[in-house]
Structures are given as structure tokens and as C-alpha cells.
Amino acid sequence: MNHPFLILEWLAKQLPLGMSPEQLDRYGYFGHVTGVWMVMLLLIGVGLLTRRRLGETPGALQNAAELIVEELERLMDATMGPKGRKYFPLIATLALFILVSNLISLIPGFAPPTANINTNAALALTVFAMTHIIGVREHGLSYLKHFTGPIWWLAPIMLPIELIGHLSRPLSLSLRLFGNMYGHEVVLMIFFALMPMLVPIPMIVLGILVALIQSFVFTLLSMIYIAGALEETH
């Protein structure tokens, strides 16, 4: 599914970026990568702007930022417990990044970077690696007990099951986000091709809902995975 016009693609063709138009046509212009960079710049810019205007009497930006941070903290405390506070930056970054990249498709001329499997695989692999790093750092070698099950003689059966379960996490995380966002794009394109006026609008409203729910689910699942690595074996 190709968008008729994308601002970043147009910019990539206008600016001399060391690639000729033929090369861009041949290799593609990596819309998801430029999209990710744009979302990153947007988030960092808003963050810096908010930090500069930090004060005793909060302005509009600070109010919004405080609301987001407080809600996220509340959610984290409910799912991960007091130990999870350390990992707030990771979770909050994931949440804000995925939310903004999902919602950016509402602006005409932008495609969501999360509608590409590579972006989502990168995010999911980050979560996957972080869970195990956190698990090893928290428990040391006894982190292996997470994989061997409650009874020692069940370990040969439990180990493959746990391994497959852990390996399927990044797959399901990335494919879920990708399928939802890409499917929404496809549906929008088909409706747009059928009738360009008014008909796609209900789908766009549904798409906002899907974007919110999927970013929430991704964040919550990462929280649950990290909490699972944090908890003691029983």
C-alpha cells in the first residue's frame, strides 16, 4: 500500500542527501527510518521545551507533561510494584514513542513508522533484551530458575516450553503492533479507493482508538514482562 504523497519522501527527493533519485527509487527511501527520526526529534523537542519552561506555576506544556508522567507512574505502580520505578524511563519512552508514531498518520502526508515490521521488531527486541538483562542483574545466576519450573525433576519438560514462550514474546509483540497499524492503513486505502469523500472518516476514528489501545497494550505487556523478570521464583 503506497501513499499518494508523503512529506518525508518529498523532502528526501528535494534535499541533496547523497542519493540520486534513481538510487532512491531503487532502494526505497526508508520511510519508516525517517519517520522514526522525525518522531524522535518531535519528542525530544517537546521535552526540551517543557524542561526550559519548568516552574512553580505550571504552564500548559508542563501540565500536560505532569499528567502523562503521573498516569504512567500510577499504571506502573499498579502493574510492577515498587521495584519497577527504576525502569520508568524505558517504559515511558516506549509508550510515548509508540503513541506518537501511531497517531502521526492523522496528519496528512505522514505514514506511521509503526506500520513497518522493522520498527516494531526493533522495539520488541529491545524489550526482550531488557527483560533478560534486568532478570540477570536482579537475580544473578538463579535467574535460570525462572526457566526450570517449580519442581526440579520437571525441568527437562519445562525448559523447552519456557524457552519457546520467551522467544515468542518479541514475535507476538512486534506482529501485533505491525498487523494492527498496517491493517488499518490497508483498510483506509481500500475505503479511500472506493469513495474518497466522508466514507473513510469512521475508519479514521476507529484508527485513533486502535492506535491508543495498541500503544497501551505494548506498554502494558512490556511492563508485565519486566515485572515477570523482577519477581522471585516460587
Binding site: L175, R176, F178, G179, I213, L221
Partner: protein
């Protein structure tokens, strides 16, 4: 060209079959969640959050089917092989 018409048929039929199970499951999940909220409206926030996670989990099965259908349609690994065989 028969191969490609079969691809389209398989993608559509797979999506149709793959949508049945998750939609039934989601219907059951929403039904139970609504019953729980009706019994105890105070716990609606927690129930709805859990329901959303469950729904997303169930939905991922349908999403896998969708991804497979899209692979069959747009990124079929055997397309070139079939085209070279057809060209013979």
C-alpha cells in the same frame, strides 16, 4: 497464472476462517466483562483494563492470519520461482 488465483483464494479464505475463532473469543470476553461490570460497577476500571489486554491477546491470532495473508499476497517467497517455471 492459476497459482496466483489460488494465492488470492487462499488469502481470502484463510482470513475468513481465521477471523471466526478470535471474534467468538472476543465476544465471550466482552460478554463476561460486561456482566462483571453490571454486578460490580465499582471495579469497572480494573475490569476494562484487563479486558483490553485480553482482547489484544486474542486479537493477535487474527493479526497473525492477516500477516500471513499479506505475505501470500504481496511478499510471496515463491513468486519468482513460479514465474521462472511459467516462463519455461
Amino acid at each position: 497464472m492459476d497459482y496466483f488465483s489460488w494465492c488470492i483464494i487462499v488469502a481470502g479464505f484463510g482470513m475468513a476462517v481465521g477471523a471466526v475463532g478470535p471474534s467468538l473469543g472476543q465476544g465471550l470476553a466482552v460478554k463476561s466483562a460486561l456482566e462483571a461490570v453490571a454486578r460490580n460497577p465499582g471495579a469497572s476500571g480494573k475490569i476494562l483494563t484487563t479486558m483490553m489486554i485480553g482482547l489484544a491477546m486474542v486479537e493477535s491470532v487474527a493479526i497473525y492470519v492477516f500477516v500471513v495473508a499479506m505475505i501470500i499476497l504481496f511478499a510471496n517467497p515463491f513468486t519468482e520461482h513460479v514465474l521462472t517455471l511459467l516462463a519455461k
